[in-house]
Symmetry: C2
DNA sequence: GACATTAGTAGCAATATGTGAATAATTCGC
DNA sequence: GCGAATTATTCACATATTGCTACTAATGTC
C-alpha cells in the first residue's frame, strides 16, 4: 500500500507549502460575542479587515506562534488558546496555501485600548473579511459552542471573580438561548465549579450580587449513562 | 499591531514548511479498537510501523489528500473521515515539519485483506511507532471519545445493519465502561436514532437479535438545560 | 415609604435514569 | 423431545435530575 505512495527506501522530499497561523480572538462585550480584527495593511486588499495572522518563525511551534500573534494583537496574552484546525482552499490574505487556526479567549473587561489598526466587532456584524477567515471564524464559533460543557470556556471569558448572573449571561450568549435561573444555579453548584468570595457587587439598582471564583473540585465519579445528542 | 508582523503593503513571502497528511484508521474487531499501520519502507527507520501518510499533491485539498491516503491503505474509502488537527515538534517518519492528522472510521467486518505491508493492531497493543504518530493516535482517540455523543461515530464503526448488542458493545468500547442494557436501549429509542429492519440475526446460541439501521429522525426541540461536565 | 429592579431559594410536578428481575427465543447436551 | 444454558428484549419501580412558578431578600428611585 505505502509502496504506491513512495518508493521503498529513499523517500521523495516532502513537498513544501506556504503556511500561516491565524488567530481568532473572542471576548464578550455588552451581551455580545466580539471578535478582534486588524486592518489589512494592503490598500489594494479586497477586504479591509482580517484576523491576526503570521507565518511560523524558525524555532517556533504552532502554539508558540499563535501565542505570539495573539499577544502582539492584544498587547497581552489571552486567557486561553486552543487549536481549531487546519484548512486550505479559499483565499487567504497572505495567500498561504494552508492555515492553522487558533481560538483565543479574552476575559471581558480587558479589551485592549483598541488602537487604530485593531478593533473589536460583534460576531454577528462583521465587516467583509477574506473567505478563509470567514470560514475559520465559523469553525471557531462552532468549536466554542461544542466545547462549552466540557471545557472552562465560559470562565475564560470572565474576569477572575464574577457574579452568577454574569456567568449565566455568557452561557446564554454561547448557547444562543435563555436559561432558567434556578436550574442553572442548581446544576452549577452540583458540579462544584465555583466557590463564593466574601465580596459583593452593587450594579446600580437591585440587590447586590455575591462574587464567585472558578475553583473546580474533584467530583465524585458520577458514572452517567449515554446521552445521545446526535443531531445530523 | 499587524504592522509589527509584516510591512504595510508588500508582505514577506509566507515561509514554506514541509507538510504531511497522516491518517489514523480505526475499526472495531473482536471487542477491541484496532488501528491500521503500514510497515516502514525504510529499513533504517527506528520504528518498523507507522500510520499511513503522504504529502499533499498539487491540486489536492487536505481532505482529498486524506481520502486518497486512506483509500490507498485500505483498498476502499473509510465510512467517515474527520480532521483531528495539526501538529509540529516530535519526530515524523518523513521529517515533515507540520502534520495534519485525520481520523478515518471503518465499518467492522470490512477489514481489508491486510496485505504484507499493512496490518491492524489493537490500540492498546501497538508496536513502537514514530513519536509524532504516537501523539496523533492519542489525539484521535481523545477526539473519538469526546465526540461519541455528538456525532454518529459509533454507527460508522458498524455495518449498515446491526444488532443493538453490537451497538452497545461499540459504546462500551469507546467509553471504556459497561453500560446497563435497559437504560442504553431506552435512551437510544428516545433519541430516535435507529429503526428496526424486518431481519433477525442468529449468532450461534441464544435468542436471535433484531437488526436495526441508523436512521436519525428530526427530534422535537428538546431544549435541555446546561450540563456542567467540566473535569479540569 | 411604595415601587421597580436584580439576586437568590423553595417546593413540587414532570422527566429521566439506575437496577433487578421477568419473559422470549434460540442452541446444546442428552 | 426436554431441560439447561445463552442471548435478547422488556417491565416495573426506586431514585435522581430537571423545568417552572412563586416566593423572599436587598438594594436604588422617586
Amino acid at each position: 500500500m505505502r509502496d504506491r505512495l513512495s518508493p521503498p527506501v529513499a523517500r521523495p522530499a516532502t513537498r513544501r507549502v506556504t503556511l500561516s497561523v491565524d488567530v481568532i480572538l473572542l471576548t464578550s462585550h455588552a451581551r455580545r460575542l466580539t471578535l478582534l480584527l486588524t486592518r489589512s495593511p494592503d490598500p489594494r486588499a479586497k477586504e479591509r479587515w482580517e484576523t491576526p495572522w503570521d507565518t511560523v518563525r524558525v524555532g517556533e511551534t504552532l502554539e508558540s506562534a499563535a501565542e505570539r500573534i495573539a499577544r502582539s494583537a492584544l498587547g497581552a496574552p489571552p486567557a486561553m488558546i486552543e487549536q481549531v484546525g487546519a484548512v486550505g482552499g479559499k483565499r487567504h490574505p497572505g495567500d498561504a496555501e494552508v492555515s492553522v487556526a487558533f481560538l483565543g479567549l479574552v476575559a471581558a473587561g480587558s479589551l485592549a485600548p483598541t488602537g487604530g489598526d485593531t478593533a473589536w466587532f460583534p460576531v454577528d456584524e462583521l465587516p467583509p473579511v477574506p473567505p478563509r477567515h470567514r470560514s475559520l471564524i465559523e469553525s471557531a464559533l462552532q468549536l466554542l459552542r461544542s466545547r462549552i460543557d466540557q471545557s472552562p470556556i465560559a470562565f475564560r471569558l470572565l474576569p477572575p471573580t464574577f457574579t452568577l448572573s454574569q456567568l449565566q449571561e455568557i452561557y446564554e450568549l454561547l448557547l444562543g438561548r435563555r436559561l432558567h435561573k434556578a436550574s442553572f444555579r442548581r446544576a452549577l453548584h452540583a458540579a462544584w465549579l465555583v466557590e463564593p468570595t466574601d465580596e459583593w457587587r452593587t450594579e446600580g439598582r437591585g440587590r447586590p450580587a455575591q462574587l464567585f471564583r472558578f475553583a473546580p473540585r474533584k467530583r465524585r465519579g458520577g458514572r452517567r449513562g449515554v446521552r445521545f445528542g446526535i443531531a445530523e
